[in-house]
Symmetry: C2
Subunit: 461 residues, 2 copies
């Protein structure tokens, strides 16, 4: 039994590890396009902030760790075509040599590619021009070299999502003057703007310039560096910087599977079922290249590292004869921005409405622990619930570092998984000690406020 996994990131490696873990008799080969398998791409911003050194420590597991599990790695090897009927994978080595790898089962984890979001000029510029993306270790080295050579004083970051804000912090830590451009009305569009605004304030209080409602049209190079042309509320704005980082999202990297006959679905990602089957015989796929089964939205596209790990694990188990199912994402995410932590799970208000729910969202502020104990800090929490049936639909939290905000969102994520109502959150037996919580945890204070604002206004007892 020969299992081949394509992709050295979360999905491919998780699949290979799971197969080896469950059946050490399985022969597992992982085909990796570069020479950096199992690196934590999420950790790259902390390399630039200087928190993580050397870059090698970004590896979840070293090459030796991986091989110790019994898998074989084919590094610097690009998968160029799948012969589905023949169960053969065509690959090309760095020196151009073509070869063929036979497989019994194949798992494709080719991930996603940086999006250009329709910005003119991005495809003509390179790191040598000061234009960067951050999606691989190769990108990381290119940016690192450029920072060394160019010693930039100014940077523009296009996109105020997770990576954009983490990189804003990273550049600021190096003394670079950073401007973040955001298309929408507020940074971090994964949150409602009412909470995104506190992240915005955190950025500006640390000297980051933030321009919202700013749609970038083009990036071009001239003698003074890079020129970014944008529209701000319909008015043209020109901005300059020594370097530009474009982090405006990703698009699924589907070329290999598309050519092999796979179907594209939500977000133009490859359609897979909950068992990570592509429909092509003996071909599974997982990670940022495939659609996401979501417990509230059905099939959507929501690429996240945690999801890729889970999907890869399912694919690895099923490829060797198991019967695992991906239980579905609820879209849980968290980001640290300077001293603030912003987390969300489920749907925020706009998403819930767009998905057809009769949603109601309320916002509350509750202390992370009893106010009488030193160091209590408020956590702002927005609860989205279904006015029809009382079900919890989502939660968003913003609190300072040290308020256990990241793991408080997990209580909501678990409740969403279990399909609890907003009211049932009050029934949860959550932990309490005065230095770390309250008899009704902040998590529950927020849901009780939602209930008061909705259901209890109608109660007649």
């Amino acid at each position: 039994m020969h299992l081949v996994a394509i992709g050295g990131s979360d999905a491919g490696i998780s699949a290979a590890l799971r197969a080896r873990e469950l059946d050490p008799a399985t022969d597992v080969t992982v085909v990796v396009a570069d020479e950096y398998p199992n690196f934590s791409i999420c950790g790259i911003p902390y390399y630039f902030s200087g928190d993580v050194r050397p870059w090698q420590s970004l590896a979840h597991r070293t090459h030796a760790d991986l091989e110790a599990t019994g898998m074989s790695l084919r590094l610097n090897t690009l998968a160029t075509g799948i012969d589905v009927a023949g169960q053969r994978l065509n690959v090309r080595a760095a020196d151009g040599t073509e070869s063929v790898i036979g497989y019994d089962e194949l798992i494709v984890g080719t991930g996603a590619l940086p999006s250009h979001a329709g910005i003119t000029g991005l495809d003509q510029l390179t790191p040598a021009d000061g234009l960067h993306v951050i999606h691989s270790m190769g990108d990381t080295f290119a940016l690192d070299r450029d920072l060394e050579a160019r010693d930039p004083r100014t940077a523009i970051i296009i996109g105020a999502g997770y990576v954009g804000l983490e990189m804003a912090e990273g550049f600021s830590a190096r003394g670079i003057d950073v401007t973040v451009l955001q298309r929408g009305p507020e940074v971090l569009s994964t949150l409602d703007p009412e909470l995104g605004s506190s992240v915005h304030e955190e950025l500006t209080s640390h000297g980051v310039h933030v321009r919202t409602r700013t749609v970038v049209r083009s990036v071009e190079k001239d003698t003074d560096g890079l020129l970014v042309r944008a529209d701000h509320d319909g008015q043209p704005v020109n901005l300059r910087a020594d370097i530009v980082l474009a982090v405006v999202g990703v698009r699924p990297n589907t070329q290999l599977l598309e050519s092999a006959g796979a179907t594209l679905g939500a977000g133009r990602a490859v359609v897979v079922d909950e068992q990570m089957r592509t429909g092509l015989p003996h071909v599974y796929a997982a990670g940022d290249g495939v659609v996401t089964h979501h417990r509230l939205l059905g099939v959507t596209y929501l690429p996240l590292g945690t999801t890729a790990h889970k999907q890869g694990r399912v694919a690895g188990e099923n490829a060797i004869g198991g019967d695992a199912r991906f239980a579905g994402s609820v879209g849980t995410q968290v980001v640290k921005v300077f001293d603030l932590v912003a987390a969300r799970t489920g749907l925020h208000d706009h998403e819930a409405h767009a998905a057809g729910f009769q949603s109601v969202t309320t916002q509350t502020t509750a202390d992370d622990h009893k106010r009488y104990y030193p160091g209590a800090q408020p956590i702002s929490i927005r609860i989205t619930g279904d006015a029809d049936n009382g079900r919890l639909l989502g939660a968003q939290l913003v609190g300072r570092l040290g308020t256990e905000t990241a793991k408080r969102v997990d209580t909501y994520a678990t409740a969403l998984f279990a399909g609890l109502t907003v009211q049932q959150i009050s029934d949860l037996d959550l932990s309490y000690t005065p230095p770390l919580g309250s008899p009704w945890d902040a998590v529950q204070a927020a849901t009780q406020a939602w209930t008061r604002a909705t259901i209890e206004t109608e109660i007649t007892v």
Copy 2:
């Protein structure tokens, strides 16, 4: 409609608040034995450590806050008898005046009293002798005065439970040399000894003397202070200290309801149903004086502040005509001991076996966040699961302050509430960012280890 609640602590006040919140037309009177309604008894150790000053800040709400909700408080008023048929409560004021309060519905939240655990002499000694308990604000003031007057250099704490360990930290912060005596094999018997041992080490590393397997027989006063006679592994041991704090648990304070005809059940606490009805017409009860409906154990006695809040809320809602049910405890608890946080939910191994489960417990250590990001710390986690059906039965965690251990236990508590299997914990979409977590959170690393050690050893794929 006149609702009377007896008790100024969690259950009584929660009941009164809930009734006022749901129906502001309800006339609510709260009868409070002392003059300190709604004080955070859990916060008292932090008054002695000096973290919380003045003592008034221990009030969850001030007298004025409470009256602003529209409830009436009768302070320094002892409930002496219930005339169930006549729906009248007999009370005695501090000056000895007896009076009668008529009620339509009554909620009894008389709580618990310190236990003496069969130790000779405790009932003959008082704070004036240097013998203390910590169960009320009156106890707090007595200890405070005694610390001032006696300026003790040494203290013995009998009982290494939550309050004992918090008070050990509080006394240590004041420069008092503390010895903690524990009957069982390890401190904090709410954890398996394998984890209790790290709490033990934390205590000793901060200069607290800990003596386990030490059963106290008597406390007596002589000219040199207090003499504690104990057995250690069957050998007599005599210990001396300037003051002794006895925190060996509580017993339900049931006298009022027993006299009125209520039934006693688990732990000799008053039997109530899930709606907090005592069976006596128009009489509800909640808090440390009543039995605890537990989602894993059925009816037991597990007095906790969080539970008292929930039960009080249910009683308050039902007393005014609602139909709320206490959903059941899962025994979630957390304590900070110096720089360590110890948390548990559900059952530990011994409890699960005693309750008849085919339980298996495994222990894992996992970092609180990605090791490459500065400050990663291991969290030790024990998972107890049911080998018959794979259900999660309990989790115990010990981590350092700042590792979000207190809120990680809440994920398990929520999973227990929802009846998830250990394997399903891997399906939870938990939050991840390198400074605050891992793609598989520590919570999931621990359950995956359990699954590997049990189910997957039998899998043939």
